[in-house]
Symmetry: C2
Subunit: 245 residues, 2 copies
């Protein structure tokens, strides 16, 4: 049960969107695979393609931010670089199409998400989404998830750092220890929340984007929880609310 006295109970459960509530990175992986197929006539080394894509994304991150449009622009740039300008306009059109498909694929919830969101909503706790990426696309994903009416608020942010979570927790009018964040990225969903004194849960996804990877992080050393399935979340929330660790 939520704790209206503002005590140690968890009042707000915050979910990451991409790869926590719904599949996302798997679509990027598919797009990347198709991109490699396009380039293989020019560059007979998938590892080199992978490296150049990550290098271009990293170089453009401060300019483009996150999301499918940023990814598409970085793929076009990578294709021109790696083929030394020999890529054809028809192939660039295929890259544009890959990018458009990322923006239009139907939202598929991850296993257990719908049930867990319902179960937690029934405890009276406030549920929110904290997601980063394209504003336009993330709003479309929330709408397409069928879960929009379960969430008290949806925070679409440009970067998930300590300052962002401080603002989100303040906007919820709770203390950090009344706030729990769950997500697939240790860097973006977990460590900044732990730093603020909130509860954080790492729920790994099949794929981790290179730019979200944190070497050597683990829950025991860094004060966060690790779950293998979102279905374990309601019990953890109850245990933490009852004062367990």
């Amino acid at each position: 049960m939520s704790d209206p006295t503002g005590g140690h109970g968890i009042e707000v459960v915050a979910f990451d969107g991409d790869d926590t509530l719904w599949h996302s990175e798997s679509h990027f992986v598919d797009a990347h695979r198709r991109f490699c197929e396009l380039l293989l006539p020019y560059v007979d080394d998938v590892a080199r393609i992978d490296e150049q894509v990550v290098a271009t994304e990293r170089a453009n991150l401060a300019l483009y931010g996150y999301g499918s449009k940023a990814f598409t622009l970085s793929l076009i740039e990578t294709a021109i670089t790696l083929t030394e300008g020999r890529i054809t306009a028809g192939e660039i059109t295929e890259i544009l199409e890959l990018g458009k498909r990322l923006l239009t694929h139907p939202i598929e919830l991850l296993d257990g998400v719908a049930e867990v969101v319902d179960e937690l909503a029934a405890t009276g706790r406030r549920l929110i989404v904290v997601t980063k990426g394209d504003l336009f696309h993330q709003e479309a994903k929330v709408a397409g998830s069928g879960l929009a009416d379960r969430f008290d608020r949806v925070e679409i942010v440009s970067e998930k750092d300590v300052a962002t979570y401080r603002r989100v927790i303040d906007a919820c009018e709770v203390e950090p220890h009344q706030f729990l964040m769950i997500g697939n990225s240790v860097r973006s969903d977990v460590l900044p929340v732990v730093e603020l004194g909130g509860h954080a849960v790492h729920l790994p996804y099949t794929y981790t984007w290179e730019l979200e990877h944190v070497e050597g992080a683990n829950g025991a050393d860094h004060g966060y929880h690790e779950l293998r399935s979102i279905r374990e979340l309601p019990a953890l929330v109850e245990k933490l609310s009852a004062g367990g660790a």
Copy 2:
């Protein structure tokens, strides 16, 4: 002076960002001009280039939303279409560069903005920004404007319609008649606010993007105010707060 009794005074003054607080469309116009120069060896008709750019932007709007990355992707698509695939990779790189320049140009405030923002802030009213486009880029623009600390909140939204303004006005905890929005777009900054019973001010900019154009709108018929300079805003706010029309 603001009216703490919640009466007819204007409590919140909301500013559009692009082309109201700072120059934006002029940079897009420059980019478009450069784009036309790139295509003229292939398409000897600027009007046809203009038409195809607008048609592509319009077709992609529901998918890409607003902003420089959407614009860049639409320009690449337009270039491939209009040249029937003859555009070179080098020229597409130039389009990518045009897009990057849109994301990096320094923020130039419009004439009078800094003084008017200071003057209104000194009346004790809350000032906010309501802007649409790339989340990442708009945040960078607010930061680059030097005005961030004057604003009570910055709302970066995906579409400026009646539902959006209802949410923004609710979040400010005021009634629509205590809310005034000023911006350069009749469609996005003015008409939805008027529909909600708020005050709206149209401040035309040198250029209007084709997709923001509203045929035949005028303040007298549609219940909004028209100013020629933002310097006239403080006097209008005082007049409206005193019950003038």
